[in-house]
Every structure is written in C-alpha cells, then in structure tokens.
Subunit: 188 residues, 2 copies
DNA sequence: ACCTGTTATTGACTTTTGTCAAGATTCCGG
DNA sequence: CCGGAATCTTGACAAAAGTCAATAACAGGT
C-alpha cells in the first residue's frame, strides 16, 4: 500500500511510518459484508489480496456496480467523503487481505502531512476516471461490445466472478452474457 | 459563483475577494468550442447562464457524455486535474455567461487559503456523484426507465436540447427516444 | 463420495430496440 | 416572409436482447 501511495506521489519516510502506524492489516473470509447500505463508510481498505464487489438493490435483484481486486482501494467513496449513509453494500467475494485506514486517521494525516492531500487527490481522480470508464462501457450498444470492453480490461477477472454478477455489472442479463460468450469463443 | 462555493464550505471574505480578483466573466455565443479533444483543460467555468455539453466521437457519431447548465462547473475534470489531454470536446449549446478560473490561479488559491481545498474537494465529490448517477441510469434496461430518469432529474432541460443529443446521452437512438416520449405523453 | 443447491447453458418464443426510409415540422438566414 | 436544412415523427421490417423453462455442470458441506 505504501508503494502504491508512493507511486501516486512521493512521500517522505516520516509519512510512510505514520501511515504504517495507523494501518490495520486483516484477513476477511469470503462473504464478509464490509459495508451495508445505509451505513457510513469509515474505512478505506487497500486490497493486498482478494476480491470484493459493491452492489445495490434494484427491484428484487442485486446489481453490481463495480469489482475491486488487488491494488484497488475499497470504500464507498461518496459515503466516505460526505459522511452520509452509503447507497450500496460491499461484499468480499474471495478471502481477502486488506490494509485498512480509518477516516479519522486519514484526516489526521491530511492535517499533519500536507503532501498526503496530493496522494488523496490523485487517488480520487483515479477512481473518478474508472467511474467514467464504466459509463463509457455502459453506453456501448451491443452485448458483444460490452463483453469485449470487460475482457480487455479485466482478462483475469472473468474466471473469478460468477456470471450473474458480471451480467448485472454490464447491464445485461445472465443468459445474454452466456450466449455472447459462446459466440465469442467460436469466433476465435 | 462565490455564493455557490460558500454553500459548499463557508469562506472568509479575503478568500472571496481573492477569487473575485482572478475570476473572468465572459459571454460565449452558441456553438463555441470551449475545449477540443486532445487539448488540456486549463479552466474551470461556473455557468451563470446558458448550457453546454461534453461529447466524444464513437465511430461516425458524436456521443454526448453530459450536459452542463446553470450552477454547473464546466471543465474536463480528469484533464484539468491530471494535466493530460482531454478525451472529449466541450461545446456551448446556448449563449452562455461563464465565470472562469484558470488552473494556475486555483492552485495558488489552494496554497494560500487551505480552506479552499475543502471547497475543491467538495466540488469534486459532487461531480463524482453525478457521474455515478449517470452510470445508474445507463444500467436501467428499458428506454422508458432511462427516459423517466432524465425527465425527473432535468425536467426543464428536455425543451432546451435536441433529441438527437439526449438520445446519445441516454444510450439509445433518436427514433426510440421519440417513440418512448410519445408513449409517455399518451399515458399522462 | 454423495447429495443438495446454486450456477451455467441452451432452446423456443416474446418484447424491445435498431435500421432504413418517407413525410411532417421547426428553425434560421437571407 | 420565404426557402432550405436540420430536426422530429411515424411506419415497416430486421436484429438484438429479455423471459420462461428445462437441463447440465459445478461447488460446498456433511
């Protein structure tokens, strides 16, 4: 996690130590709910190992908004920043090792080390850009284009996630994804 | 614009004055291109009056990514922050009055007035949340749901924008939007 | 290893949306 | 105020995706 932050913006050793001092490394088994809809997101967790998803309920089914794998920071960004209840639930999909920072500790780090604000800003920008990329994908018209968009960006993720969840993420239903997949495999 | 910033986070009078000193108020006629794809976004412009859109080219047609009306801040956020070329073009749709701040002036304000960072962070969060809302809309399955999502959130915008542009924004084609609209009017 | 329940695939059919084209309407510049 | 161009609407048809249902494959727990 320290390496990742450093890659966003170089940090002095004292800042690195201060982060290490407040970060909590934990293991979470599959199916752990890290955050429930309606709660306020108090932690930002760097994914050392494992996989999670954020989803919301639409009618009777769960719609996955995004997947978070190694190198990703798990949090409900909006809730974390605005201190308002989250509109989504975050669930661990694969046994995970996470390095978590509490909101208050991060605020303290911002206050004590001004350069940490730049790290925070860069991280926000990056996750903002990922959000925009998802919109780009969703505006694609055909299932085939959406499928390609996903496989090109996350070639390894396909094997790790159930098709039902990928389908809701892509804005299509399970059967359509299955058929699109079969068609694509035939082509190659 | 000052009022809007104040509503995000209260600002001392000196900061207000400093903003007023560097802000440039300008009128832009319809069809002005504020930013071209490939350029770096150097300004953040508060919309006092008027309307603009950001679009990108997909194949042979222009896909509108978002509309920006009164109270909105026009900029290609990602380009503005990362100092990388923008992937989109921004065009004025209705004669507009804009209060513009240059990137360098904003950086100076951040440095001189720490509380301005909070204003900037809140603004980013807000536009991040709007981006997420657009994803929410795009994952709706039927044209009817997308149409309702748009009319509920932007009841006045429908009359001001060509249907072709609204259609690409919603991820459907012109004819589908026209038919959906006709069906909705009949119902009410 | 076996049972059970979830997940994935496939088929037949319906609904929705896209495509192409023609006609109507609106808008704008001269 | 007129004419041309863009925009919007409507229709007929094609293509794509959704729905329902049945079967197959897989995974987790005992």
């Amino acid at each position: 996690m320290i390496d990742y932050f450093n890659s966003l913006h170089p940090m002095p050793p004292e800042l690195c130590n201060a982060i290490a001092a407040v970060a909590e490394l934990h293991d979470y088994p599959k199916k752990t709910i890290l955050l429930k809809e309606g709660q306020i997101s108090n932690h930002a967790c760097f994914v050392v190992k494992g996989l999670a998803r954020a989803f919301y309920n639409s009618g009777d089914k769960e719609v996955t908004r995004l997947f978070m794998d190694e190198g990703y920071i798990i949090t409900s960004w909006l809730s974390f920043y605005t201190r308002q209840p989250a509109h989504e639930t975050i669930e661990i999909l694969e046994d995970a090792t996470l390095a978590c920072l509490h909101h208050d500790d991060i605020e303290n780090l911002y206050a004590e080390f001004p350069e940490f604000n730049i790290v925070g800003k860069k991280a926000t920008e990056y996750f903002f850009s990922l959000s925009e990329q998802r919109s780009l994908m969703l505006r694609k018209h055909t299932a085939e284009e959406k499928y390609l968009f996903f496989t090109e960006r996350h070639p390894t993720l396909f094997q790790r996630i159930s098709q039902k969840q990928i389908a809701t993420f892509l804005g299509m239903n399970e059967e359509t994804l299955s058929r699109t997949r079969a068609k694509m495999l035939k082509k190659s």
